[in-house]
């Protein structure tokens, strides 16, 4: 396992954006919570953490009980406390939001999580073994949540991760500003201590073979996420960097990450925002995000867009890249065409139409693309039915192949993919798997 880089230390350009709440801040903030009954924040949370309950426990100094309340609903509470788009979830639904300031739920959750992780307290312990084996493919948020929930129930879990480090996007794809690597790895370690066996560098389909999985385990959970950015199909694309790899380098080998002076980020989703933020923080003079539609259609959360503007990033809307200009592989600029928006397309958003004759070349010495992620091929190798490339599952997260369950970004055909949704998938799948194991003797 690589040594965890020191990029997360205080004072770094990429240090975690929000400082931890002091004990005084946490107590004061928690006392502000009205303790709503059947609280809307809890409804808005995809994992339905009993938020007033954990906040009340902070206000009474019961930090252990607070952490337990969070982890009962969401085993990756430390990650979610940092990466959740709380404005769209719990805090967005806070009844104090309309006329006051919503409760800082995310930061209070982090306070409770920091308490147990900082003191190396294990809130849960493995139950007595029920002598059943489950393979979990992919040690990202969905797989970790599923593995942890099953381990808690006494199931023997093997977690296969093809990368060198576990944690999935929490380790590789969430910028340090939001979540330091060590937070994700601490959660993995907690799930390992619950009894889940982690095998890194193991790509299912290669080693172990698919057949090993199907024969050696009572059930399988697939939480493999998605792949790299799809192809734009433009000349010179080989000189464009992949957004997730760009972020990965910023987290795991920041010293080696070369950041341009004039950086263009293609895309306007949350990953594009993160790429632009990293580029600015690591020294780019100008960072321009390029999007073929307008602010209205962009998939980044409004608060993320507001944030990146404050970081000094500009966004060029209604622009579509058509060609990379380079000299012997050294990027010089990106040629774009002007776009007009037409009727709504299949995604419900206005379809972009090129306006010929308005091409322009934006100067750039580095171009990064973050335009979504390709689907991975494991589904077809397992012969699973898909929906637009995403693995198709039923209400219990079970795929078309009985005993094989899936969750996380690889099933998220609709709605926005997020860590907390993946955690909920993993949790619900674990419950369904457990029922199946118990029912099938």
């Amino acid at each position: 396992m690589s040594e965890i880089p020191s990029v997360t230390v205080a004072g770094s350009a990429l240090q975690e954006l929000l400082p931890p709440l002091s004990e005084q801040e946490a107590v004061t903030e928690s006392a502000r919570c009205l303790m709503c009954f059947d609280a809307p924040c809890t409804h808005a949370c995809p994992t339905h953490i009993d938020i007033p309950r954990f906040i009340k426990k902070i206000s009474t100094g019961n930090l252990l009980g607070s952490a337990r309340t969070i982890l009962e609903s969401n085993l990756l509470g430390a990650t979610c406390a940092r990466v959740c788009p709380v404005q769209e979830l719990c805090e967005g639904a806070c009844v104090l939001g309309a006329e006051h300031k919503p409760i800082a739920i995310g930061r209070l959750q982090r306070h409770a999580m920091d308490y147990v992780y900082g003191r190396k307290i294990d809130v849960f312990h493995a139950a007595k073994s029920i002598d059943k084996k489950v393979a979990v493919v992919g040690a990202g948020p969905a797989g970790l949540a599923c593995a942890g929930e099953l381990a808690k129930l006494g199931v023997s879990v093997t977690l296969y991760e093809k990368r060198e480090l576990p944690g999935g996007l929490s380790t590789y794809g969430i910028i340090v500003l939001r979540e330091p690597v060590e937070v994700a790895l601490a959660e993995v370690a907690m799930i390992e201590r619950l009894g889940a066996k982690l095998e890194v560098g193991k790509e299912v389909g290669v080693d172990p073979a698919v057949a090993d999985l199907q024969n050696g385990f009572d059930a399988v959970f697939i939480g493999i996420g998605l792949g790299n950015s799809p192809q734009l199909g433009i000349p010179g694309e080989e000189y464009i960097l992949d957004g997730l790899e760009y972020i990965e380098d910023s987290k795991l080998q920041p010293a080696q990450l070369h950041v341009g002076r004039d950086v263009i980020v293609i895309g306007a989703g949350n990953t594009a925002i993160d790429c632009a933020t990293v580029a600015r923080r690591l020294g780019a003079e100008r960072v321009t995000m390029l999007y073929r539609r307008t602010q209205k259609e962009m998939t980044a959360y409004p608060h993320e867009y507001a944030f990146v503007k404050l970081e000094g990033v500009t966004v060029s809307f209604l622009s579509k890249p058509v060609k990379v200009h380079h000299e012997n592989g050294v990027v010089k600029g990106l040629e774009c065409v002007r776009i007009a928006l037409g009727e709504a397309d299949a995604s419900g958003r206005a379809a972009p139409k090129e306006i010929p004759g308005f091409n322009m070349v934006l100067p750039a010495d580095q171009i990064v693309k973050a335009i979504g992620q390709d689907k991975l091929s494991l589904a077809s190798r397992l012969d699973l039915k898909t929906d637009r490339g995403f693995i198709r599952v039923d209400a219990n997260l079970e795929t078309s192949s009985p005993g094989i369950f899936a969750g996380g970004d690889c099933i998220r055909a609709r709605g926005s993919a997020s860590t907390v949704m993946a955690v909920q998938d993993g949790k619900l799948a674990a419950r369904a798997i457990y029922q199946r194991l118990v029912n099938h003797g």
Binding site: D38, P40, A44, H48
Partner: protein, 461 residues
Amino acid sequence: MADLRTNFAGIRSPNPFWLASAPPTNSGAQIHRAFEAGWGGAVWKTIGAPVLNVSNRYGSWRYGNEKMLAINNVELISDRPMEVNLREIAEIKRAWPDRAVIVSAMVESKPEAWHDVIRRIQDTGADGIELNYGCPHGMSERGMGSAVGQVPEYCQEITSWVMEVAKIPVIVKLTPNISDIVMPARAAVAAGANAISLINTVNSIMGVDLDTLDITPSIAGRGGHGGYAGPAVKPIALNMLAALGRDSVVHNSGLPISGMGGISTWRDAAEFLLLGASSLQVCTAVMHYGFRIIEDLCDGLSNWMDAKKLGTISEVVGRSLRQVSDFKDFDLSFKVVARIDQQKCIRCDLCYVACNDAAHQCIDLIDRNGQLTAPAAYNPSSNGRVEAVSTRPSVVVREDDCVGCRLCFNICPVENCIQMVEVPPDRPSVTWDELTAKQPEIAEDWDQMERYRQKMGIRIH
């Protein structure tokens, strides 16, 4: 501008606000600054028998984000030599002739001791004397303070000794640590006192330290009861104040009452005036925020009096006393119901759970289609701000079942969101006293009560 000037048993002050006998009135320097800030008077911290104090003498009760909802203390009377206090009292009175300077005193229960201290106080030029019969800790163990106040006979006897030599108004300060506050007040009247003040602090143990298991605050590992004061005691003080106002002996004596116990704002002050206090004493709020609070005490009171067209303090004093009644005189037919303003409601559902768990189960959750629904009725796969907010049910009172208990009104976090609305009574006005005078059997027999309820259409929900 309302006239805030006060004449209390002949003691004049430019406004009714006096600092209570307590740490803020420990020295001439403090009182000098208090008078500069605008305080109308000050009751000097009790002088008398020699004492020694301890550290960690104040405890506080924190509730939520309120750091000092109440304070308790085991500080004794003034630990400065009596000569020093008397000299400073004289200096302050000379420097501030228009302010009320009252001196609190407590000595051994001997006529000579009391005669001596009263004479020495009078020599300073002070405007009045307050007899501290209330201090519940330390001094009471030595037979002073509340040890006197809790026994009306002692209270009367010592007051009589004082009145033998007193040439300036004498105020008897009562302890609330007694079953009937009227008894020591009557004793003060009988002894010829000029005025009464109340309440002194309440016996209390502030808490236990959950780390050390010591009493908090810990005095070298020990702790005990101390005098409890501050915002949390205000309702207790108001009740005792009203009890004196309603007692014919005390009321007919014409003795003015100086009210205290948790006065923090002009609103508290107005309430004490309305229930019969004609001067007001403040301590805890000053210990929390300093002398500067006098500005809003006066300003707020004056503006309120102007708005109410009450020109002088005496027009305010006792005005609400006649409203204070016993249960037996309440109108049983009076009816209010809770009504929730759906525009103001933020849907915290605190009223719902309170009504459902602790009151009379008459608030319903109604979904967006107008149908009755249950808490957390949403599908577990539902999430997100938009869905959580847009599908949240409304809280609606079933007014037919509402007993008008007022619990929801009390806990609603939004100003004026829940109103207790008076509805026409469904039976003729009658009090318990009137009813049971005519039909005594219904107070004694549940079957008779049931017949009465059926006849009157009273349905108990």
